[in-house]
């Protein structure tokens, strides 16, 4: 292969790659769980392909996760996907954000344990 063709190939592949990444971002697909309330992350980010996850897991209702409570009871007809979990589940004072970690773990890991499918160990959800 000539030097020039090689350079052209490289440039085209690079542009294609950049385009793929950009379009991935522009669609704003959720690929990680990234709650803005965690200031400094201790563990690697949690990969979570939002739509694909819910499809393979067979979860039909958005409020299975994005729930709304009224008078201490879950409201089946309402959902809260326009809010981050931490907007309601605020970090307790002097709690080092453990209260927020807890509700994420209870929801994600809790269902996986119940269904006996999906990751349950730290390393599975926080891969390096």
């Amino acid at each position: 292969m000539e030097k020039r063709t090689l350079i052209i190939y490289t440039v085209i592949t690079l542009m294609g790659f950049i385009f793929a990444v950009m379009s991935g971002y522009s669609q704003e697909d959720v690929i990680n769980v990234e709650d803005s309330a965690f200031e400094k992350k201790m563990r690697p980010a949690v990969p979570f392909l939002h739509d694909k996850h819910n499809e393979t897991a067979g979860i039909d209702e958005c409020n299975t996760c994005h729930h709304v409570y009224e008078d201490g009871k879950e409201n089946e007809y309402d959902s809260s996907e326009d809010q981050e979990c931490s907007e309601c589940h605020t970090i307790n004072k002097g709690d080092n954000s453990m209260s927020l970690v807890k509700i994420y773990h209870l929801q994600c890991k809790g269902c996986h344990q119940k269904k006996k499918a999906g990751p349950i160990m730290c390393s599975e959800c926080h891969p390096r």
Partner: protein, 219 residues
């Protein structure tokens, strides 16, 4: 994997805690009864003042002649004992799990700090192992059970370190880590690890007898 994980992180945790607390209580009570039967003076000699005085000297690094005679051993022993109690109680991952299960949480150390301390523990275990093999006077007193106990203590730290760094086989290693911790807890009452529970009483008694009866120091 789910069934195994749920089992070792559920019922087995309770089993190990019950064996640890129940077994320790049983060993304490049976030792107290035995002491009463064999040697009534144990109770008469026991003195709070002299007992505490002796314990205080022994829990301070270089606070006794024995500690001063062997500086390297003393330093390793103290850091090792502090670390093996400190790490599991203040590890963020453990606190997260307690928070999820029992709703309790407290201050924790950073994962990096825990990492360094875990290396210190593993290195100490290697030091103890080499010491047993190399020093003739220690080797003479060593039996198989000493190596087994060393392995029981080292295992949770090696497997935990492995799992945290997600080295190959980390999922299985994670399960082994949980079981290793449970084995260590359950082994405490029924092996020489019982010194963790007996220490205040054995040392306290020595201090009492030396202090009140022989009017001598035991440090």
């Amino acid at each position: 994997m789910h069934d195994i994980y749920n089992f070792v992180s559920g019922p087995l945790v309770w089993v190990s805690f019950i064996i640890f607390f129940g077994g320790s209580l049983y060993r304490l009570i049976s030792m107290a009864v035995l002491a009463r039967k064999k040697d009534v003076f144990v109770y008469e000699y026991m003195s709070l003042k002299f007992g505490l005085r002796s314990i205080l000297h022994w829990i301070i690094p270089f606070g006794t002649v024995k500690w001063r005679k062997n500086p390297l051993f003393t330093i390793v022993t103290f850091t090792f004992h502090i670390c093996i109690i400190f790490i599991p109680i203040f590890l963020s991952a453990h606190i997260i799990l307690w928070k999820e299960s029992w709703g309790i949480s407290w201050w924790y150390i950073s994962d990096t700090a825990a990492d360094v301390l875990a290396i210190v523990v593993i290195a100490s275990c290697i030091f103890f192992l080499v010491r047993r093999i190399v020093l003739p006077e220690v080797k003479y007193l060593t039996s198989i059970s000493d190596y087994v106990i060393l392995a029981i203590v080292a295992a949770p730290f090696i497997t935990g370190f492995w799992t945290y760094h997600q080295w190959p086989g980390f999922k299985v290693m994670g399960i082994i880590h949980i079981v290793a911790g449970e084995i260590m807890l359950a082994a405490i009452p029924f092996t020489r690890l019982i010194h963790m529970i007996f220490f205040p009483f054995t040392r306290g008694y020595m201090g009492s007898e030396f202090g009140a009866i022989r009017h001598a120091k035991d440090w």
